[in-house]
Symmetry: C2
Subunit: 189 residues, 2 copies
């Protein structure tokens, strides 16, 4: 007989998502989450720095993968294309098979300002990480930052569309579309 039921973090994550989905983030207390997961508050805060963080377990892995993919990618590609290409690869690997889950999670985040802020923070960290890789690879930090920011803009747009109900295209395709749109939008008249 094991001392504890296994995989506490995952139990907390699913309990939290279910409750947030059902009653909203603010009207859900950590006490409720840990009760449903059969754990204690102290354990919750052992695994997650704060209440919001329970929704962002994938983001560090996402960042690692994208950085890795850029570094492994084609050196000859223009930087912006290289980054978006990496995003496409990672999207296929990490997102396409969990579309409904991601959409549910995204809806929860979209419904709450605190969670949106956290999401923006994660995106900003990812932007910096991408900029750092580009800086190391090509040169000038400003160009690196702008390239990373532009890629993230395309990613945001693609992701929004991907989670829209009724949308059937893959995130991969939507990323390519978004990059094209971005280019024609920014292009000097």
């Amino acid at each position: 007989m094991p001392r504890w039921k296994p995989d506490a973090p995952e139990r907390l994550r699913t309990a939290a998502l279910e409750l947030f989905d059902a009653q909203g983030f603010e009207r859900t207390t950590v006490a409720e989450i840990v009760q449903r997961a059969e754990l204690t508050q102290r354990t919750f805060f052992n695994h997650f720095a704060d209440k919001r963080e329970v929704l962002f377990g994938l983001s560090s892995e996402l960042q690692r993968e994208i950085v890795r993919e850029i570094e492994a990618g084609d050196d000859a590609l223009p930087p912006l294309d290289a980054v978006v290409r990496a995003m496409e690869v990672v999207a296929d690997k990490m997102f396409e098979n969990r579309r409904v889950l991601m959409a549910r999670r995204y809806a929860v985040i979209a419904a709450n300002p605190e969670l949106q802020e956290r999401e923006l923070g994660k995106n900003a960290a990812l932007t910096e990480a991408i900029a750092a890789v580009l800086h190391a690879r090509c040169g000038d930090p400003e160009t690196a930052f702008l390239t990373a920011g532009a890629a993230m803009l395309a990613q945001q747009m693609a992701f929004r569309n991907w989670t829209r109900p009724g949308e059937t295209r893959t995130l991969h395709e939507l990323l390519q579309d978004a990059l094209r749109s971005l280019r024609t939008t920014v292009e000097p008249a």
Copy 2:
């Protein structure tokens, strides 16, 4: 004899900035802030939704002004130029004369993740507001969002440089530079 010393919100803002600057955001309690401002905690939370918000008094005005300036601006300009132009005008009006104050505030924000998240949230709200104006004016919401996002990217870059110690160019100039860099960066090879 007036019942209270005047301008409670402003007293809270300056007290907070001074303390955050001196000891950092996390090591400053609301109790300390209100003591320095000769008010009570309850009054603090009457004026500001939370502890962070005390640093973001300008952002609603900023958003109003930028939106107004876009609406009043030259209709013939390409959208991205129109937005950046509006930002330049507002920068001249609201920022150039408070450079040191803005830099101090920015340093405080840059030193704390919670404040950075709030800043990102304000930026996102501004992006949406700009996108809404463009959407109303030109058409397609996706293009509007990408244009707004691109302009904000340039703004972020310009602002970073503007608050760098030793930088002497105006935010206006830096915005134009940033837009040029962005265009050459995103441009297809």
